[in-house]
Symmetry: C2
Subunit: 140 residues, 2 copies
DNA sequence: ATTAATACGACAATAATAGTCGTATATGTT
DNA sequence: AACATATACGACTATTATTGTCGTATTAAT
């Protein structure tokens, strides 16, 4: 419960890896898949999705791969998660709101408040803070 | 993703309902199930679990049901969720930590920090703030 | 006795997540 | 031109987590 999906994890690992290189450098999906033991096909599809979203730039053909494109400080964790997984919410009625209960529901508003708190944590976190190398990101 | 389970939702609805009554009053599972359109058997099992955890007191036989027991201000959302769903963490290595990656993982510590932030939101929220009737919990 | 409630293990159904396969397309190298 | 190696992507399968059901036992008021 309340877990990140592997899709998001893999995407973060990939971005972190790519941004560890010199700007403009190309990274192959295979390289990441091997280094972090991620199924290649799955990772490939994730990178393709990031490419469609212009977060990464694809380069085809041999010597191809992906190039970091958007500065990670420009993407919030909320945006990122929602790009990969769709709208985020602790509860369905935070998203679509066709629920049998709704009018008789006695926890809707309080949960909505909790949801907003969580969401603002994610809103205020940039990917740079997760994949970047600021304080705290040292080996234990 | 990042959703509460129905189990948790149903449990919160039930507690909120029970705590809306006079102290000592008994509530039947059936009553809650009907009012909020929750499958009776499922709700029953959840209430039984809350009874085992001493959050609620069971009363058997006809005219039986459950009686609110623990003051809701005394239970954090973290405790509650973990009672119902087991340990909570954005990522498995926040919980058990047998992961093929681990040593080579490049996002472990940063994710752990995010996890701690979320967790502290839940730690600092009591059920009273969710099921109780303080500010904000009015019909929209 | 009967009835209406909880207790609970085992099972079944559904849905979400994770992963695979096949095939097409692009492009550098020979 | 042929080949090798990369991305692109839809369709499929497998696995796991969640949600819900069933059957049966127990308790206790009437």
């Amino acid at each position: 419960m309340l877990k990140l999906t592997r899709k998001v994890e893999y995407a973060l690992i990939a971005l972190q890896h790519m941004h560890g290189k010199a700007p403009g450098d190309i990274t192959k999906a295979k390289e990441i898949a091997q280094q972090y033991t991620i199924p290649l096909q799955l990772l490939a599809k994730i990178l393709q999705q990031l490419a469609r979203e212009k977060i990464v730039e694809p380069v085809q053909g041999p010597n191809g791969g992906y190039r970091a494109k958007v500065p990670l400080g420009a993407i919030s964790l909320t945006e990122f998660v929602e790009i990969l997984e769709g709208p985020m919410g602790l509860v369905d009625c935070n998203i679509d709101s066709d629920c049998i209960q709704l009018h008789q529901c006695n926890i809707r508003l309080p949960i909505q408040r909790v949801n907003n708190t969580i969401k603002s944590v994610f809103d205020n976190l940039t990917l740079a803070q997760i994949t970047g190398d600021e304080a705290g990101n040292k080996p234990s």
